[in-house]
Symmetry: C2
Subunit: 446 residues, 2 copies
């Protein structure tokens, strides 16, 4: 098992009896997922993805990645939400959060189309100057505002730089298999296409072409990634009494006892974007119908010097889930120093990672003493295999947890609200938009 639950730091906060009660519900949820008869069951494609993926497309992804590696210095990935978080999380976890700054034989990778901030796109264009560029545009429909705008800008940039024929070889579209405006545009222009499956929601899409192409371009081994997920599927899918179900049970148990906030913590900066991916997965799956655990994240020991005080002694409405990565391969150790002015001589010669794991144990015990329960998820390492395993662990636990909470974990109706208002305020044609625009302007006093 590459991923294991450690309940040592829950003692005194939640009893076995309390968990058992919730486990009756989580066991039902496991069954619901297995029988595919729950709410949102047309979005269960992620369950068998690690084994039932399109093998021909998988090979095409690898080939495209090789082509991209050879033909550019800068690879721009255009997508928002699930269309960028999974890939960015994987690349930072497996390679590095400093991936772009490190010496390597793969292109620099920038994520665009996830913001409407003008400076971000201005700066990206200046970075592209004088370099060879490829683009992967990821959008099921092709009409989501943020990526669509960025793609207009990057397509114009590539066509000005390489001509229409040159640009064609440098644009890769990940989109619907047959319909939608991006698919139409891609076919018309002859861009190579990859598929966003119909039965996999955005936040569950990292193991589809959405995530796999950028991850492969970064030089990660996507076979190992899928193997990790496949082994997790073998361990968790349709089974009760697993660590995965248990995580779902414990967090629901803590929520019912008034813990409204879950802080995902890890002691490595390379986990930062995995925590962001996790926030979408859990926040979007559970935050509805007036319910849901609020997902937050910290990187320790860094944030022990910012959020640490609040966690140790603030309002007791929180619990922590710590991802304890047991091995990273890092080499650096604390140097000796005969003068020992800083008083650290007693740890000279120890690797930083060994000091780091003591910091984790020390903190978990301190936070327990402060009234904050800690769920610990142990992960063996920081390679493709473990990342794939962890992704599936969190996905399955999220589905189980959502059903246990009593929501549909696979929809996101609330995401439309800002979009509708935005289209209206931007003056999108259409009677409904015009009516809404009038109402909104009146409320804004404009």
């Amino acid at each position: 098992m590459a991923v294991k639950l450690n309940e040592k730091y829950l003692a005194g906060f939640v009893s076995e009896e309390e968990i058992r009660k919730v486990e009756k519900e989580t066991a039902e949820a496991v069954q619901t997922i297995k029988n595919r008869n729950g709410a949102g069951n047309d979005f269960l494609g992620w369950i068998d993805l690690p084994v039932n993926y399109d093998k021909a497309e998988f090979e095409a992804i690898k080939k495209a990645a090789e082509k991209i590696k050879k033909s550019c210095d800068v690879f721009v990935v255009i997508g928002i939400g699930g269309s960028y978080l999974g890939a960015r999380a994987a690349i930072e976890y497996i390679k590095s959060p400093l991936y772009n700054a490190l010496a390597k034989d793969t292109p620099d990778i920038y994520f665009a189309g996830n913001t409407l901030s003008g400076t971000a796109l201005d700066e990206l264009l200046s970075i592209c100057d004088g370099k060879d560029v490829c683009v992967n545009v990821i959008s099921k429909s092709g009409t989501t505002t943020e990526p669509a705008i960025a793609f207009r800008v990057m397509r114009e940039y590539l066509e000005n730089k390489y001509g229409k024929d040159g640009a064609r070889e440098r644009i890769f579209a990940t989109t619907d298999k047959e319909k939608g405006s991006l698919k139409y545009l891609a076919d018309q222009n002859g861009y190579q296409c990859f598929v966003v499956p119909d039965d996999v929601g955005g936040r569950y899409s990292v193991l589809t072409a959405v995530g796999l192409l950028p991850i492969a371009v970064a030089g990660c081994d996507i076979d190992k990634l899928m193997k990790g997920a496949a082994d997790a599927r073998e361990a968790y899918n349709g089974k009760t009494g697993t660590d995965c179900e248990r995580y779902a049970a414990i967090r629901n148990c803590l929520y019912r006892k008034g813990k409204a906030i879950e802080i995902l913590a890890c002691y490595h900066p390379f986990f930062t974007m995995t925590a962001e991916w996790w926030k979408q997965l859990y926040g979007e799956s559970e935050g509805k119908d007036g319910k849901g655990i609020f997902p937050a994240s910290v990187i320790f020991s860094t944030d022990l010097h910012s959020m640490g005080q609040m966690i140790q002694e603030g309002k007791r409405n929180i619990f922590e889930t710590v991802v304890d990565i047991k091995s990273t391969g890092a080499k650096v150790a604390v140097p000796g120093d005969s003068e020992n002015l800083d008083g650290l001589g007693f740890i000279a010669g120890q690797t930083l990672d060994s000091v780091n794991r003591k910091a984790f144990q020390a903190t978990a015990l301190a936070h327990c003493d402060g009234g904050v329960p800690n769920i610990v998820i142990e992960v063996d390492g920081k390679n493709e295999y473990e990342f794939g395993y962890l992704v599936y662990f969190f996905e399955m636990a999220c589905a189980i947890s959502g059903y246990t909470l009593g929501v549909n974990p696979f929809n996101q109706p609330g995401v439309e609200s800002y979009k509708k208002n935005m289209y209206a305020l931007l003056g999108k044609p259409g009677a409904e938009n015009e009516e809404r625009r009038k109402q909104l302007l009146a409320r804004l006093g404009e």
Copy 2:
């Protein structure tokens, strides 16, 4: 006024009468700060810092920054908590979150000593390879574990590379003015020193040498930064009825009405680290005695596609504070496209920033409709002046808010808990450590 409060999106959530009630308390807090007779009043040095700073040191900082710019490609800033968040926030806000990747005539800047993760330091060393390096080590005592370890590593690296004499010219220490192990080491080795004042806590230190040296090295105009803070001091210090006091009153009002989480939102990625700085400022100042608003942050519209669902329809225990930056100088606009397959023709020609501000209005209204009050803080621009102004706004509001909450906003007793356990588990010599070590190992079952 470079910073203004906009209460348009609070209508219906909190009445003027309710705010007025809390304003009786915030007005008292303003007086307590002015009279310097509240808890933690030996840490009020930040109040007059924008005008009463050490002018000779300020000039020395500028000179050192010029020297550093000329003598290195990579500038490593070693510090944790307040000793890195302010500088990093300023550089990303004023310059860019992609500062290192952009073409420039100033060094790349990396922040170290804020984590015990081995990979982070391994990677930094590999980035330094073949480049000229300077180091700024920031620690009042010199014995805080994270920066002390990183400094051991970087000092060894510099001395191996440049010899003891060469390293001396490349190491800059920001530390206590006369005592502590780092001050002693620096004096012994002849490193240029800057001062961490006694009466300014870490999270309030961005306008001291702690923040100013790295900010100046990045090419920011620190005179303008101080001018912004000085004008904010003029506007807020000792005065009631200000927007600054009002922000403190409203957030306390919302907290008392059951809003346990404050989400700081901004529509620009360059604000990401300013939000992290804000989290330390508010979390560490208020999170004590079982109280405190839990500080979280998002970047929109990015995170509307991750946390948006939860904010729109989840548990109604949240409010948002949106930093609305009215002008960024960005130029990029939505390109025209005669085919208009993405349907965005109706915004062709508009700048992204104008679309972005509509997204803000659209979202604020949508979230209000979803039951989430929005405090809006309008900021004129993204230059040094506005950043300095905003820093002082948040610092003063935090002090007022902390007293209103009934805590000492200037201490952080809880931060010691993990450190004590960590020293014990790492086997630090001393009877107390040994006793604690035995107890902790028993609890860990080791």
